[in-house]
């Protein structure tokens, strides 16, 4: 019945790992052929794979695990999805109903453990409720502000001898849950008033815009407005990075021009973004001259950190559409010519301290490989059209800064929780969704080791991902903070020559490994890796370990206060 319901819900793939309380369900999986099950090597991998699948496709990811340790191993992945509002349904099996609360073997109160990191959760108390529960869970996970939903299923609820009349509900109605869909026109008018009055606007778009598939409408609106656009780490790709109005990412490691534009703006249009502390720096010093229009589907995100002057609630896509229509009607009042001085100022900022996107052209061996140049080469070789997953650390920031995403859902990373270990399993989820697309994982030698066991899953399901391991032989981001704030004391951030030989490791998992140490060999090495279309290639690239990520916001200050290099501050 569970499998029927999942199939009727449109599920094609489940990521999971079996165990005692899940055996009935696994037997049902064996006896059907509509839904494919991917056997991971660790339940954390299952959640990240489902998450990567969800981010790339927009469809909910589905995870199936056994009770106790199987369930608790999903916690990091659920928290990751929760922080980034990713639709996911986790089916966690449970000990039989009559054993609940008795400290039975492999019993964990999964509903209790996961409570703060789920959008909602359900326990199946009666097997007849399975279809309705599945329907509701998928609805809650995917509607409004999406998020993970856990369904706890005691073993007796899936017992094969219990047969019921099965009917999958056509619709759901949860009376206490009605996420806003269309914006209130009076708010839209107020937003357009503010847009018309502004001469220094910035559009600031985040993950919520991607969740709502707002790329086209955002583009169309800005064809009229002609405003500069910046994206959060989660929003990369929602506006084409190669567009001349794109400022780059903003925030902690945002570009100089993006942070300066936000700080000096007279109007910030926040589109599905939540003014996270990595964006605002000190909220009291944030964008002192700006009015804020906030478009969001979640009431609790608006005016949480930064007070909104105009709040437009609804599906972000619909709100943008309404603003576009209204602005069009009042187009005689809108003069994009008044933005010219603003564009001029931004151009100047860009030329002063913009990022250097041509580092890759220097192929000499006079210096070690620069991590930034690795990303630039990868961008060139893949024509900027790959699905790129990442982990957490310096390599992640370099990837976000130097790979230019022109389309949404191509940049897959754990923005909110910052989960090391996310990169490889999420790349599996993407590759399973899009087997013909180039999928690569830009990672670090620290992060990749957190879910390295999934290399075995990649062999089993023949997933020819490219792993770009930016190897600085250290927990680079930690080390950078220690350099900057702790007098260079590298407490527990290096491994003292104990790293594995990644080439041999990849080979022992049945894949190809390539090691690159010289700058002059970087380009050819990467080209060789990408030429092996049907192989997973692990490219282990030794880079200059002393590199830092810049710009970097100076803590507890405004967005104009940035470190631009090791010894230069704005």
């Amino acid at each position: 019945m569970l499998m029927h319901a999942l199939h009727d819900e449109g599920v094609e793939l489940i990521y999971g790992y079996p165990g005692g309380t899940a055996l009935h369900v696994y037997d049902a999986i064996f006896r059907q052929d509509k839904i494919e099950h991917i056997l991971v090597r660790h339940e954390q991998g299952a959640t990240h794979a489902a998450d990567g699948y969800a981010r790339a496709t927009g469809k909910p990811g589905v995870v199936l695990v056994t009770s106790g340790p199987g369930a608790t191993n999903t916690i990091t992945g659920i928290a990751t999805a929760f922080m980034d509002s990713i639709p996911m349904v986790v089916l966690s099996c449970q000990v039989a109903s009559h054993l609940i609360g008795t400290d039975a073997f492999q019993e964990t109160d999964m509903i209790g453990v996961s409570r703060p990191i789920v959008k909602h959760s359900y326990t199946v108390f009666d097997a007849k409720d399975i279809p309705k529960t599945i329907k509701e869970a998928f609805y809650v996970a995917t509607s409004g502000r999406p998020g993970p939903v856990v369904i706890d299923i005691p073993k007796d609820m899936t017992a094969p001898e219990n047969l019921f009349d099965y009917q999958y509900p056509n619709e759901v109605n949860i009376r206490s849950y009605n996420p806003p869909i269309n914006p209130d026109q009076s708010q839209v008018e107020r937003a357009v008033d503010a847009i018309i009055k502004s001469s220094r606007p910035v559009i600031y778009a985040g993950g919520g815009a991607i969740a709502s598939d707002a790329e086209e409408i955002l583009y169309e609106l800005n064809e009229i407005m002609d405003a500069p656009v910046t994206n959060t780490l989660m929003g990369l790709g929602i506006y084409p990075a190669t567009h001349h109005r794109f400022l780059g990412m903003l925030g902690m490691h945002g570009t100089y021009q993006a942070n300066m534009a936000m700080h000096n703006a007279d109007l910030i249009i926040a589109v599905g973004a939540r003014f996270d502390d990595r964006i605002t720096n000190s909220p009291s010093k944030f964008a002192p001259k700006a009015k804020v229009i906030h478009l969001d589907v979640d009431h609790s995100s608006v005016s949480k950190i930064i007070e909104a002057n105009v709040a437009v609630f609804g599906q972000v896509k619909n709100s943008l559409q309404a603003i576009k229509e209204t602005l069009k009607e009042r187009i005689q009042d809108y003069d994009k010519g008044v933005l010219e001085p603003w564009h001029g100022e931004i151009k100047e900022w860009k030329s002063m301290h913009g990022l250097n996107y041509e580092l890759y052209k220097d192929e000499s061996d006079s210096h070690q490989i620069l991590p930034q140049a690795v990303v630039q080469h990868v961008y060139q070789i893949t024509n900027g059209d790959a699905y790129v997953t990442s982990d957490v650390g310096q390599h992640q920031m370099f990837a976000a800064q130097y790979y230019h995403f022109d389309k949404p859902r191509r940049w897959i990373n754990s923005g909110g929780l910052g989960t090391m270990g996310f990169g490889l399993p999420s790349a599996m989820g993407v590759k399973l969704a899009f087997p013909d697309e180039e999928v690569l994982c830009i990672t670090g030698e620290g992060s990749i080791q957190m879910c390295i066991q999934e290399l075995s899953t990649c062999l089993q399901y023949n997933l020819p991902i490219k792993i770009i391991n930016i190897n600085n032989e250290a927990l680079g981001m930690v080390k950078q903070w220690q350099d900057m704030n702790y007098g260079g004391r590298h407490s527990e951030s290096t491994y003292k020559n104990s790293l594995p030989d990644f080439v041999k490791l990849a080979e022992s998992y049945g894949h190809v490994g390539i090691k690159i140490e010289k700058n002059s060999e970087l380009k050819s090495g990467l080209e060789k890796a990408f030429a092996m279309k049907d192989k997973l290639v692990f490219v282990d690239i030794y880079v200059d370990p002393s590199e830092h990520v810049y710009p970097m916001l100076v803590a507890n200050n405004s967005l104009e206060d940035m470190w631009l290099s090791k010894d230069k501050k704005t």
Partner: protein, 109 residues
């Protein structure tokens, strides 16, 4: 920090209460007084029924009264986040009532 009273109308379902309490606990706030009743007289909530286009049945909803001491800003945040919980129908404090994130004119208190 001011002593405050909050009223919630929510679905009478297992797990609903602990989700509400969790939001206070997470921020380190103590709940000084807590009272839950199953609602039997729906008359005061007629407007909510109308808005939801539903009819409450006996035993379906509960009314939760909470007393706690928190700052203004946090109170507002908690109100909104309580509202985000799937089983919560409406939340009210001394000043305002939120119904699915929208401010209502009438006060439940």
């Amino acid at each position: 920090m001011i002593k405050r009273k909050l009223i919630l109308i929510m679905e009478n379902k297992p797990g609903a209460l602990v989700r509400v309490i969790g939001l206070f606990h997470q921020r380190g706030y103590n709940i000084e007084n807590l009272h839950v009743d199953v609602v039997e007289d729906f008359a005061p909530y007629k407007s909510i029924e109308d808005k939801l286009n539903t009819k409450f049945e006996p035993n379906q909803i509960s009314r939760l009264t909470i007393q706690t001491t928190v700052s203004d800003i946090l109170m507002r945040q908690i109100l909104r986040q309580l509202n985000r919980l799937i089983d919560v129908i409406a939340v009210s404090n001394e000043e305002a009532t939120y119904f699915k994130g929208v401010l209502l004119d009438e006060n439940l208190l």
